[in-house]
Amino acid sequence: MMIEEQPKWVPYSIYIATYHTETETEIRHRHLEMIAQRFGVSHAGDLNDFEFIKGSFVNRVKAISEGDTTCFLIAAGSLQTKQNLIPVPSFKEYDEQISAIKEMLPSGPDFECALKFVNVTDERGAVMFLKKYLKDDGRSLKSAGLIRNYVLVTIQRQNIGSTPEHTREMLILQHGTDADAAPGEVWALCSDVCSLATFSGEMSRLYSERRLMFDQMEASENSTQIRINEILAQMRRPVDEIQSSDLEEMLKEITIQFSRLSTLSNTMRRDRVKAQVIIRKTKDLLKRWNERPFDDNATNSTSTIDFLEGLTAPFADFIERIEALTAQFNTVLDSVRTYLGIRQQKMSISEQTSSKEQLVQLVNLQETLHKLEVLIVAFYLTEMARIVFVSLLSPELLSADLLTAAFIPVALLLSVLLSRMLHGKR
């Protein structure tokens, strides 16, 4: 029978399981179809929500999809007591109904939640029932709160290990609601628990996918720290001992490490944002509950938010530790830069000294050239003067050679003056 509205019967035992799937339609249809076939449910119409009768029990199977998560709800109630609520039902019979259907769902859900419904007279009756139930079952209470006419109780799970909680057991203790209104209110609460299971499942999966990385952080951080120290020790050596190839290798390594740390940090940031979105959606839902404390216990809202925030904390820690390593690599990079700067400065000083020496040599060369220039000019002047003296004077009166010799100092003086005039103009 296909149903559109909420059933008119009360579920006494409910099982909720969430699965992550990239092809949710396929998984949903396959499993719902298998359940429908096994329990003889008609195939007409959509199989996302159907109920069927088995003996004196009525069962409901529903699949809800949100994003990449599919949530299955299986509920078992009594056909014979549609109008009269059973105060404390025999859960074993209802649980057997649930088990028969549950085994057809895929294994390894991200999150699962088992709920039981109990009708009590008032809040005091709820306290009494709870005490007896917990005592008989040898369990303890984790959180409880008043939501409208219900006391919603979360039972402490057994075998608490290091793995994050991905199962939850809850009790819905109803009081002060008439039999007609009860089914609608219980189904509404179940729908909210489905949403909470979806959010918790998403968070558990997000955490589980990163768990290996969280576990590895300490060791990876240590070995990276050792490498940083090694590089810094290398940098402490005298400047002349470090070769350019060493610096090149260091820079290559720092670049590789930087890119990996940046990838890790950005990925964790992305996941932390996803986790924060899940927490925000959960808080919005819990706000609508307006849950009040019950008998000095922590409320379910507080407990749920604590659980989710507890799973988000490692993301923030990881990012912080990666950032600390990045900061250290920045220090190493600064050291390499400083080192290169000192080296460049040394090279520049050496180049400057070398240039100065070259300049002095050039000046000396120029001075020598100037002197040579004076001598050449004086030689030419003397030669010219000799030609003049030979042509003008008769050999009998005065020797031209004597006059030429006497002209040499004058020629030298003239060439010095000429040289100064020419260089002075330049």
Binding site: E209, M213, A219, S220, S223, T224, I256, T263, T267
Partner: protein, 157 residues
């Protein structure tokens, strides 16, 4: 479907992601075999280029050193008594790629990483065994790869 492993899978996370999505349901033994063959071919190429001779632990270490020369997280810790110890610590490329592309770390190391290293060493001596004595995906602080002459097996205790 014939299986091909891109040549740059160990440095290109995108390629790694595409490979996983395509072959995640493929028999892992076949992926391991192809990865081993890839490592073997690469090892032979390096051996030829570097002029590495011999088939002992020193030659295996020389090939591994040449392949991993630009990888700061992998280090040959010791070569003694016919054994080579290669240790991988810090933020290794496969680990970083798995995180950034949301890929299963364990599957990729087992299907691609270790068979590839086994292939590299087998280029020197086909009888080399690779034993993964410590594995980070199992919670160890680093991955220890022991190469020693044996029966040419990949041993994952």
């Amino acid at each position: 479907m014939s299986l091909t492993i891109p040549g740059d899978w160990f440095v290109n996370p995108k390629v790694l992601g595409e490979f996983y999505r395509k072959y995640k349901d493929h028999p892992i033994e076949e992926i391991r075999r192809v990865s081993f063959e890839q490592g073997l071919a690469f090892g032979r190429q390096i051996k030829g280029q570097m002029g590495i001779v011999g088939d002992d632990a020193e030659a295996i270490a020389a090939v591994l050193r040449a392949v991993l020369k630009d990888e700061p997280t992998a280090k040959i810790m010791g070569v003694e008594k016919g054994r080579v110890l290669l240790r991988n610590s810090g933020f290794c490329p496969l680990m970083t790629a798995c995180l950034s592309m949301n890929l299963p770390w364990t599957w990729l190391c087992s299907a691609l990483g270790w068979p590839f290293f086994h292939g590299l060493a087998s280029a020197v001596n086909p009888k080399v065994d690779l034993t993964m004595t410590k594995r980070r995906e199992k919670g160890a602080p680093y991955c220890d790869h022991i190469f020693e002459i044996g029966k040419g097996r990949l041993i994952l205790p």
